[in-house]
């Protein structure tokens, strides 16, 4: 029996197809301006991959920015907040996980789940983009480095630079000045990763993170950021052994299975 989760965020769109509780297909794409297009694409992609018609999916849950539009369009039976979905998804992957830091395109969230993966408490950045994927995206562009490369690059840093500011706009100018003054990209990338981790850690502290800490969302792929977050919180990050970008969609799919009457 098939279940699906669709997560359409501000930067990327993902879908996961489950057979029972087993992942049988997944898709990731850059988000289009219109979330419905993104949703149709990723949903179609996973169904094609499995060779089934969208109609054969028993229950679908949408999440992320586009969740309500997608639901209204009938592409999903119901929609849930990405906060619940990321929390539940991470918990399904590693049931001992209690604190999840999800860094999306414009929102960063710190989520605490209970022993059953239910939402206990959470915090969300209400003011500043400094701790989000958005920040990294812009720094990557300024540094002319592929987003995926940023983390590895930062790891080769010898003398990491220190960003004096927290504000995205400022840091961006600082990055330019460091470049113009001839600092190497690796050292600057490390500085950027630390600046981001600093904000992320500040957010995480609001939910009083526990030892079983995991990171989801695209930024979680950045090894340098992971390391800095661990250092600043003094907590090791649990490895979910799963594409962190897909955790939201996975959580939505597992909730679809749970709520859509998976025997």
């Amino acid at each position: 029996m098939y279940f699906a989760g669709i997560d359409v965020g501000s930067l990327t769109a993902e879908a996961i197809l489950l057979d029972g509780s087993r992942v049988v297909a997944s898709a990731t794409r850059a988000a289009r301006a219109n979330p419905l297009e993104s949703a149709r694409e990723v949903l179609g992609e996973v169904c094609r991959a499995r060779g089934i018609a969208p109609g054969e999916v028993r229950h679908t849950i949408s999440t992320g920015y586009g969740r309500e539009a997608i639901c209204a369009e009938g592409l999903a039976e119901e929609n849930l907040s990405e906060i619940s979905c990321h929390g539940y998804g991470a918990w399904c992957l590693v049931p001992r996980v209690r604190t999840i830091i999800d860094i999306g395109g414009q929102d960063a969230k710190a989520i605490v789940v209970d022993a059953d993966g239910g939402l206990d408490r959470f915090a969300m950045n209400d003011k500043c983009a400094a701790g989000t994927g958005h920040f990294l995206e812009h720094m990557g562009r300024t540094l002319e480095v592929e987003l995926g490369e940023l983390g590895r690059l930062a790891q080769s840093a010898r003398r990491p630079v220190h960003m004096t500011s927290r504000c995205t706009i400022f840091v961006e100018t600082e990055v330019l000045h460091f470049l113009q003054r001839g600092h190497c990209r690796a050292d600057i990338a490390a500085g950027v990763a630390d600046a981001l981790a600093e904000r992320v850690a500040a957010l995480a502290r609001r939910v009083h993170p526990s030892r079983e800490l995991a990171m989801t969302g695209g930024v979680a792929k950045n090894v340098a950021v992971r390391r800095e977050v661990e250092r600043r919180l003094g907590l090791p990050l649990v490895d979910l052994r799963f594409d962190p970008q897909l955790v939201g969609a996975y959580g939505a799919a597992r909730l679809a299975a749970q709520r859509g009457g998976n025997p």
Partner: protein, 375 residues
């Protein structure tokens, strides 16, 4: 409900126009601790200044800064762009530092006819109550001199009785809100209070009677989640709608554009014959605003009692960005309420920004999912 909502469609509504065409004078004020009885007794209509989430602030931003709360900036905007030109005067009050700033810029940029600064103490010490009574005496004189009237004790007493009646009627409406199937939504309740600040007391009393009759047998759907909303100055029906739209009903609130403006003001007083001293006790003793710096316990009790009365499943404490008073109080309230097992969502938002409502939905929806409404 329409006869209520219509009033809030415009700032200068038909009742205000009628009152002014009959030669009546209208004076604007903001804070709950303003003794509207004195204005009524002077034959002056008190009009509660509001911004209804007005999104534009470009005129105000030429004076106030982006570090000032946007409620104040929106109010100043309406003061500067002529929306409030129908006011014959303004009653400044020291509700908070930023309101003071708002009024000072308003006065500086375009001094209106009658301008008086009513200064309320931030504590209940007997000396403070005496000082507020003195301030009320000054207001009385200022009104009498500017509008050439005499505020007799009899007229003042009558108007105190009337406003006590009005407040009792509003409390009665709250009971209807708290039913298994509430008689009205939270956004409707907000409309009722907003209307109260925009019409003459006599008109309002009739409206409330009519409303009580209409609501007697009216029911909205049984809420999936019963919420109490509280926090910073909130006169945005759109905010209530955004929250209730996610799948909850606001069955109670503790806003100053809400329950704070009537229930607690029915408190008992020792006034001992002196009307102004009595008013001082009512308005300071009955204040549930975090501007009172030694009365947190009273504010906590106000919320916990409301939660119990309305059998709320959870509490959302709203803060307008840059509001210090609620910024601190919301955190303390959250801690204490959670100790009592009441789920709380602290929601910092930008006033008058529908964009923010979108972002808020995520947090509200997650909160509802957490307390079982969404799942």
């Amino acid at each position: 409900m329409d006869y209520i909502n219509d009033i809030n469609q415009t700032f200068e509504n038909k009742h205000v126009r009628a009152f002014r065409e009959a030669g009546g004078k209208v004076v604007g004020f903001t804070c709950v601790f303003t003794p509207v009885e004195l204005l009524d007794a002077a034959g002056v209509m008190p009009y509660r200044i509001k911004a209804l989430g007005h999104p534009e602030t470009d005129l105000a931003d030429g004076r106030l800064s982006r570090f000032n709360c946007r409620f104040c900036r929106s109010c100043l905007q309406l003061g500067l762009d002529g929306t409030y030109d129908f006011l014959d005067g303004i009653l400044e009050s020291n509700g908070c530092d930023q309101l003071r700033g708002m009024y000072e810029n308003w006065e500086y940029a375009s001094a209106p006819g009658f301008f008086h600064y009513l200064k309320a103490p931030h504590q209940l010490h007997p000396d403070a109550l005496d000082h507020y009574a003195l301030e009320l005496a000054r207001l009385r004189t200022a009104l009498e001199q500017h509008f050439g009237v005499t505020i007799t004790d009899d007229r003042l007493r009558d108007s105190m009785v009337r406003h006590r009646r009005i407040r009792a009627k509003l409390v009665a409406l709250d009971r209807l809100r708290e039913q298994e199937r509430p008689a009205m939504t939270g956004s409707e309740a907000l409309q009722v209070v907003l209307a109260g600040g925009a019409v003459p007391a006599s008109v309002y009393e009739e409206l409330l009677d009519r409303l009580a009759a209409d609501l007697a047998h009216r029911h909205v759907d049984r809420p999936r989640v019963r919420l109490l909303l509280g926090g910073a100055a909130t006169d945005e029906p759109a905010l209530f709608e955004a929250i209730e739209d996610v799948g909850a009903t606001v069955v109670a609130d503790t806003f100053c554009f809400g329950a704070r403006s009537y229930g607690p003001l029915l408190c008992e007083t020792k006034g001992a014959g002196d009307l102004l001293r009595t008013l001082a006790e009512i308005y300071l003793g009955g204040s549930r605003c975090p501007r009172m710096f030694d009365e947190f316990d009273g504010r906590l009790a106000f919320v916990t009692e409301a939660v119990a009365e309305a059998r709320a499943d959870g509490v959302i404490l709203v803060n307008n960005k840059f509001c210090d008073l609620h910024g601190f109080d919301n955190v303390l309230l959250r801690m204490r309420l959670e100790e009592q097992g009441v789920p709380v969502l602290a929601l910092e938002k930008e006033y008058g920004s529908p964009a923010d409502h979108g972002r808020m939905r995520t947090r509200v929806q997650a909160f509802l999912e957490r307390i079982g409404g969404g799942r």
